[in-house]
Structures are given as structure tokens and as C-alpha cells.
Symmetry: C2
Subunit: 344 residues, 2 copies
């Protein structure tokens, strides 16, 4: 049996990390790489990942060319948004390849983008492939893991979960999207003009949970509050003085029967330890039984997102055709052996 | 669409709990109940569960009679062992019904009982039904949950997990199987003559993890140690003086490449709080990233096992025919709406 063939589309931090992880895996090889960045196109993938296994792959800006080759799946890591990834997903599906994307809005698009979701589901069935959105969050910590825990409950009355993380390793794009380093007034303006987006994926996570458990949602409300620093904090790309914004506390509530029943919170800030804030993933399911889970420190977003995308490959290849979410497929799993042995 | 029809086979603590949970659910009804206990046969199921919905179901000792009726699935809760449940499973499958059992040895029988596992897999495929073993442990805490977390890892070098629980609510059968209240000498004899079994399911959990991750196991070793009390402890069915056995620490190790890579520990004792032992479920995955999870207190075994069996019903009805384990099916989920809405 030939190795599984994967194309990587998007060689930013996440796509490059997926390529590195794949370079350590057996029974699967990268057969194509797409990126629009002129600093990357024309180079060998090996120059980007540092893996000798990728020396013969040339990064191309021409997705059509990459998709014209036979392959089993494409890992798509170019954008968070359906508006920017629907066309690439269409193109990949029409080329007969499975899709795994870390675009947050693909984690559960059935409610938030029902027309595109239905179209892609039909298209995927026509071409006999599976499309999956995954990642650490949305995709795992604040949805799949919660759903999975709830499986031990005879009843559930309320779910509250918090992902408290350290933004310090991230670059200027993420800092800007969270308003880090701004004054409280500038943060307010950034919220108004849309420059500050906070976390992308709350609606998808809440809809995924509600759909799995059978909760009829009336509405989802969201709020973003600045985390004002009392300390001086510094990262390679931003310096924060007391009184400035060190983070963004993004909170979302899914309402049913007139009350919030799924409450997700994601306070993200740089150097939380300077104010003794412990990072972690925390889940509280009020039900029969009550369940309190803590993962400390939090599952780190970068590695975990790239690892999930890679680890889900066998499940996606085994799955029936169509648009899938993490709750439709078997539980994710690390893959320590030849990937072909996980195929059915 | 008619409600889903479930038969319950075995009305001990767990089977009765499943019936109670089902009595609160919509779109599913109990259409038959089997138990050999003469104190239960001939009575209405409602007299056992206290639910008015079960008033018309008469408990029968005649499984053949119960299986002659049409139904979608049977919840089997009679024994921990394949030796005692293989024939019931065969009977159910041949009657064209799906099987969900909490018999620990069915959680992952492919390695520990390969002949029966293959036979039942073939038989289930012939009759177009699915057979699943589930429960809180084996079935969730020390296998499915670990596998699921590992999905966020690019690599895993070692897994260590502990389920520390309080045995106080359990009855005399469980106390005897753990050697509670014995002297250390009697505990040693109980181990030798097989009266003390400890936890049932470690081999199944370790094989399920190894199979999902692709770890080639060389062997599984197990040890059982008495937990000698330094305090006086008392439950409705046992009294323990200092120096006597208050619990049993059962430990299992899955070895690969000459070293233990999957280490599961399940110290069970009565009133652990008298020696300041905190109960909980603890998982440590050494890998990239490292993950440390704690659920405190532990997910309570009784409710969670019964809830999992009930909650998995839609997944089992949706699954392809054959023998399945929890890692083959979508993540478990609480079911708060009409069960029919979860069917595909």
C-alpha cells in the first residue's frame, strides 16, 4: 500500500507546524505545498520545515497546479473565515480530495453559515470526500471535550467553561486582534470598528455542544472586556504599562428557556503570571453527576491545533462523505505508528 | 416515527439505574425487562424503578420470551465477564437487536478474547446490529478520555493515569472483591485464591489506548496492594480498624520497547478522607505538548456508567454493524432531547 498523500495549503505558523509534525510520521507524505507569500513560493518545502523529507516539494502559489496532482487530502491553513476559505474548500473537494481545515468558522458551520455548509456537504457527497474543521479551540477544548464529558451525565442543567491562556508567544497580528497594548479608550474604539475580534469560534462551539446534547438555543450573546494591567508586561512584540490593556476577556453565552445554559469564557492576556493568574482549561458541568475538570496549564494552542489536524487524517479518510464536525467522528487520538495502519 | 424500543437485561443496581434514567428520556421506551432474581420476576418494572412509565412491563426470567418481541436494542447489565455474557450477547444479536453492555470485559475484547470478539463481530455483521461495551471505567475515564486528550499531541512518550475513588457507597460484593476489612494476611490469601480481583478492565483499557495510538505492546503487568488503614473507618456494611485493609491499590502497566508506557492506577478505598486522600481522576500525558488533567472529585462510577450506556444508544443505532469499542464511535454526549432526533 502506497503512503497517504497530503497537500498543505497555507505555510504560515500553523501550516508549517503541520508539515513538521508530518515529517516525523510514517505511512504518510507531503506531495504538494501551496502558499501565496512570494518569500515562500518557488522554494523547497524543506527550506521552510527543515526536514530532508520535504526537499523535493516546491512551494507553489498555483493551487490549481497542486490540486491537479493526485493526493488523498489537503490540510488548509490560510484563514479563520468561511468568506475566505469557501472557494478553496470547493476547489479541493472538486479535485476529489478530503479537506481538513483549521479555519475556526469551519468547526461547526451548520448554524452560522447554513447555506455554505449545505452546499459543501452536498458537494463533498458528490465527490466522495469528507470535509472537517478542527483545531484546539474551536474543535476540542471548549466543545468536543465538553460534549465527551457530558456523556457521563444522566442530566445536565448548565455548562460553564473557561480557557485561560498566555498570549505572550504570539505575534503582532494576534496582539492587534485582542487589543493588547492599547489604552482602555483605544480598546473601546477597536471594538466599535471591528479591529478587535477576540476569539473566533464561540458560536461554533456553542452550536456544536447544543446540537450534540439536544439543547434548543434561543440566542447567543457575546461580550469582550479589556483586561487592564496593574503590572508592567513585555513580550518581543509589545510592551504594556500599568493601566494599558494586557488582554481581552471574551465571553459567550448560549441561552435556552430564558437563561444562559452554555457559558464559555476565554480570557487571553500576555504574561498572566505577573498578576498571579493561573492559566488552564476549566470545565464545570452542572448535572447528574456534577463534573469539574481542570487541565493546567492550558493545552497549548499552536502545537495542539496542528497535531489535531494531522491526527484526524485517518478518521477523515475513514469517514463517510460529507461535511463533518469533531462530534461526528471517533474521538481524536495521537498517531504513533504508520498512518496506514489506522485506515479501515 | 415510533419511539426507540429498549429491553433491559439485568436489574441489579446498574440495570435499575439505567431504567430510571430512561424513564426521564423522550423518544425512547423500555419494552421488556429480564432478570433471574425471583424477587423481581413477575413484578412490574415500575415497582422496581418507581416510574409510572414502566407499570405495564413485567419482569421476566425468560430471556427468549423478551427477545421474541421486536425492539431496537438490549442494555445488558448482568456480569463483568465474557464467560458469563457471551451467550446472552449471541442470543440478543441473533434476535436482531443491538447490544450495549457494561460488562467490563466487553469494553475492548479484541486482544483479551480475540476468538469471541471475532465471532461476535461476524455474527453482528450478519444480523446487521452493533455490539458495544461501555461504562465509566473501562469505557471512559482511563481509556476514551485519555485517547481523546492524546489527539492534541504531536508525540506521546508516556501516559500515567490514576482513578482515586471512594468505595464507601458500595455493597458487600464489591467490598469482598477488594478485600476491604481483611487483615493484611487474609488479603494476601484472597489474592492467591482469586477472591480479591481488584478492578476489572485494566487490560481492556490499555489495549484500547495502545490500539488507538498505534503502540505495540509487549506485555501488560499488574499488581494489587492492600491499602492498610491508619484510621478507623466505617460504612453500612464494613468496619475497619487501624491495621486492617481499607482498600486495594490496583495498578497495571503496558510495556513497549522494554519500558512501561501506559501506566494505570486505581486505588479504591472506603472513606479516603480519613487519611486526607483526595479522590479524583488524574491523567498525565508526557508528550508534545505535556498534558495534566484532573477531575475532582472523580466522576462517580454508578451514575456515569448507567448514563453512558443510555447516552450511547443513538451512536450505537447509527453505527455500522459489528463489534465496536468507544474509540470507534463518535464522542459520547449527554442526551437532553427526544432520542429520535439523534438518529441519522
Amino acid at each position: 500500500m502506497e503512503p497517504i498523500r497530503a497537500v498543505i495549503w497555507g505555510l504560515g505558523t500553523m501550516g508549517s507546524l503541520m508539515a513538521k509534525i508530518l515529517s516525523e510520521k510514517e505511512g504518510i507524505e507531503i506531495t504538494g505545498a501551496v502558499d501565496l507569500n512570494p518569500n515562500k513560493t518557488g522554494k523547497s518545502l524543506g527550506a521552510i520545515t527543515g526536514s530532508s523529507r520535504h526537499g523535493e516539494i516546491t512551494v507553489t502559489a498555483d493551487a490549481g497546479e497542486a490540486l491537479a496532482q493526485e493526493a488523498d487530502l489537503v490540510l488548509l491553513a490560510t484563514s479563520s473565515f468561511i468568506s475566505e476559505t469557501a472557494e478553496p474548500v470547493r476547489q479541493i473537494v472538486k479535485s476529489g480530495k478530503n479537506v481538513i481545515t483549521i479555519a475556526e468558522e469551519w468547526a461547526f458551520p451548520r448554524r452560522t453559515a447554513p447555506k455554505v455548509a449545505e452546499e459543501i456537504d452536498r458537494l463533498a457527497k458528490t465527490f466522495g470526500v469528507t470535509v472537517l474543521g478542527t483545531g484546539v479551540n474551536p474543535g476540542f477544548v471548549l466543545d468536543t471535550l465538553i460534549i465527551s464529558l457530558s456523556g457521563t451525565c444522566a442530566g445536565v442543567s448548565k455548562i460553564t467553561a473557561r480557557r485561560v491562556n498566555d498570549l505572550s508567544p504570539f505575534g503582532p497580528t494576534v496582539m492587534a486582534s485582542q487589543g493588547i497594548g492599547l489604552s482602555p479608550e483605544e480598546f473601546g474604539k477597536g471594538l466599535e470598528n471591528g479591529a478587535i475580534s477576540g476569539h473566533i469560534g464561540f458560536e461554533q462551539s456553542i452550536h456544536m455542544i447544543a446540537s450534540s446534547l439536544g439543547i434548543r438555543l434561543e440566542r447567543i450573546t457575546q461580550s469582550l472586556e479589556p483586561i487592564i494591567s496593574r503590572t508592567s508586561r513585555k513580550t518581543p512584540c509589545v510592551s504594556i504599562s500599568p493601566g494599558q490593556v494586557a488582554g481581552c476577556n471574551h465571553r459567550a453565552e448560549g441561552w435556552s428557556d430564558g437563561r444562559p445554559v452554555i457559558i464559555l469564557e476565554h480570557p487571553q492576556q500576555v504574561h498572566p503570571e505577573t498578576e498571579n493568574v493561573e492559566t488552564g482549561d476549566f470545565i464545570h458541568i452542572e448535572g447528574r453527576p456534577d463534573i469539574r475538570l481542570a487541565i493546567q496549564p492550558e493545552i497549548p494552542g499552536g502545537t495542539a491545533t496542528a497535531a489535531l489536524a494531522v491526527n484526524m487524517i485517518p478518521h477523515v479518510l475513514n469517514a463517510p462523505a460529507g461535511l463533518a464536525c469533531m462530534a461526528d467522528l471517533p474521538v481524536p487520538s495521537a498517531r504513533l505508528a504508520d498512518f496506514r495502519q489506522f485506515l479501515k
